[in-house]
Amino acid sequence: MFSRSLWILPALPALGVLVNGLLGTSWRERRIAVVASGSVGLALAAAVGFLAELLSRPPGERRIAVRLYRWLSEGPLAVDVGFLLDPLSMAMVLVVLFLGFLIHLYSADYMRGDPGFRRYFVCLNLFVFFMLVLVLADNLVVTFAGWEGVGLCSYLLIGFHHERKSACDAGRKAFVVNRIGDFGFLLGILLAAGAFGTVRYGGIAAVLEADPSFSAAVAAAVALLLFVGAVGKSAQFPLHVWLPDAMEGPTPVSALIHAATMVNAGVYLLCRISPLLEKAPAVLPVIAAVGLATALYAALSALGQRDIKRVLAYSTVSQIGYMFVAVGCGLYSAGMFHLVAHGIFKGLLFLAAGAVIHALGGEQDLGRMGGLGKELPAVSLPFLAGILALAGVFPFAGFFSKDAILWGSLGRYGAAFWLAGFAGAVLTALYSAKLLSAFAGREGYPGPLHRPGPVLTMPLAVLGACALLAGAGGLPLFAKDTFFARFLDMPAGVHGAGGPALETALAAGQLIVIVAVLFAATRRFARSRKTPSPALLADGFGIDRIYGLLFVRPLAALARFSFASVERRVVDGAVNGLGALSMALGRASARFQSGLVRRYAASLAAGAFALVGLGLYFSGGF
């Protein structure tokens, strides 16, 4: 009975959108914030109820499927709007709603006094709605609808401060780059519909299971196309360029959309189509390679940034790269575990960064921060927890998830791959140290500090505790079926080649190196705050400039050309020509209205004569 009402999860945030959007025009900020946060909070409560329902069932039967209505049917293909809640989507739903709720609360204080307060919360609620549709969808088409919806909300919120040109440009960039990935996604859906005759995840898995001789090439093609979509949405190389610029949006938006939830949708999608990936083993190395390249590249770029939010953005790109590595190793549950852990600690880091920026009156330059640890203890302690989780220090969540990924990559792709992944982890520790240096050492900011209130710091404290405790999902340590993996119940990949002794030794070695690097680098960064970073790293290896040269400039030139010739001459010419023609016709016929009565009478008589004459002529009277 309870399980039938799965639609309530997305319906609640949608209700928040409608109430705030239609009724809230003249409401005070407080009421708008209460409605927006309340709708997400209620959805979170419902989600916890569903979790209890799932956990009360035996492991193999933990799925709630609801078909709402038939959306479209064409020939043999039918698309239903249907929701599916299984452990995989349950994990995502909890991440989305838990972080969404905390970030709504945080935003209520952070956005106070902003003229776009209501618009902000409407967009944020709309985002949560679309994200839930994406996550709960039981077929590719409905997922795609949610996928595009979150892209729209991302665009709207990146460009939230639309009076700034850079914000509008960043929003557009995010939208356009995502279009490239979405094109792949769309082709993948079409190919899947053609090849499998269904777009339902369950249906695709059933076709693959029933027909062991199903063409691996077709499965690989579908998987690759969907992977292109995932690369765009999850900001993986080479489509990562939009995410660092997306930091133009308000910081809570960066925390929710561009760190914790939307950008992880690609990983979620790949986990969703895991039966397909298992059928096309040739695709897995591609995914792993793209993930590893992104992880290393973004970690290096993060080192070169001065802006605290851009460091975090590149860090997000890098960490999602690790999730792709996990998926590419066939370790779906490890990837999802890293997704959950990363969502928590990166959301935390962004919120803490927002509190710092708020405290420093808009300052985002790491070079001008320092000694904040003593000044803002309510921010710095959760921040420290987030950094330790990000760097992967025991016993924080990141340690468990990253260790599982690295160990899995050693088993699947060998020592060289593992070494590269480990190098990425060391780089992670380096840029984590750079972030941490804002809180260490001498004071760097001259002005007065605005201390954050309890509404800002409460979510930080909650998330800080979660960053510490979420690691428990990775227990028991070094085991194939951790708590989280057992809950997810996904096919486990081939695991480690060596024994548990090797794994323990490796993990301990990694931990020692990471802690040493983190400690040493923090001291070093805190001492020499002003040292400039290499230009190559600072602009992300010039990828933006290469794209500008290869794509943006030629397209802009083409646009200018067609504006000058086609638009101005042909289109405008035709429109203006039509206007001129009717003007001339009007002027000619206006001459008949002379205002002279006798001329009217004459034309009346002439007309009468003509009519009578014609009538007589055709009736044969003459």
Partner: protein, 99 residues
């Protein structure tokens, strides 16, 4: 007197009235021309009435005469008002109907 003679006289009278209406400029003359056209119609009605031994035509003549008299009364008032307002009764110079 044959019917044809009556009809042709009527046509001639109507043509004179119509031509006068189109060609002349003075508003009073235009009213007179309208009367001429009305009476041309009356003449034809009377002729047909006699030819067909009926009385309906003659009844219509009275109706038209009454309508014509009313039209003339209104027309004269219009002409007087035009003259007072625009200072002329020359229809060549009055084009207030022009939009």
């Amino acid at each position: 007197m044959s019917l044809m003679a009556v009809v042709f006289t009527g046509i001639l009278l109507f043509a004179v009235g119509a031509a006068g209406f189109v060609l002349r400029g003075n508003a009073l003359v235009l009213l007179l021309c309208i009367e001429i056209m009305l009476n041309a119609v009356n003449l034809v009605l009377a002729g047909f009435s006699r030819y067909l031994y009926g009385t309906e035509g003659q009844v219509f003549i009275f109706v038209i005469m009454a309508a014509g008299a009313a039209a003339a009364a209104v027309g004269l008032a219009v002409v007087a008002a035009l003259r007072r307002r625009l200072g002329t009764a020359d229809m060549n110079r009055i084009n207030v109907l022009k939009g």
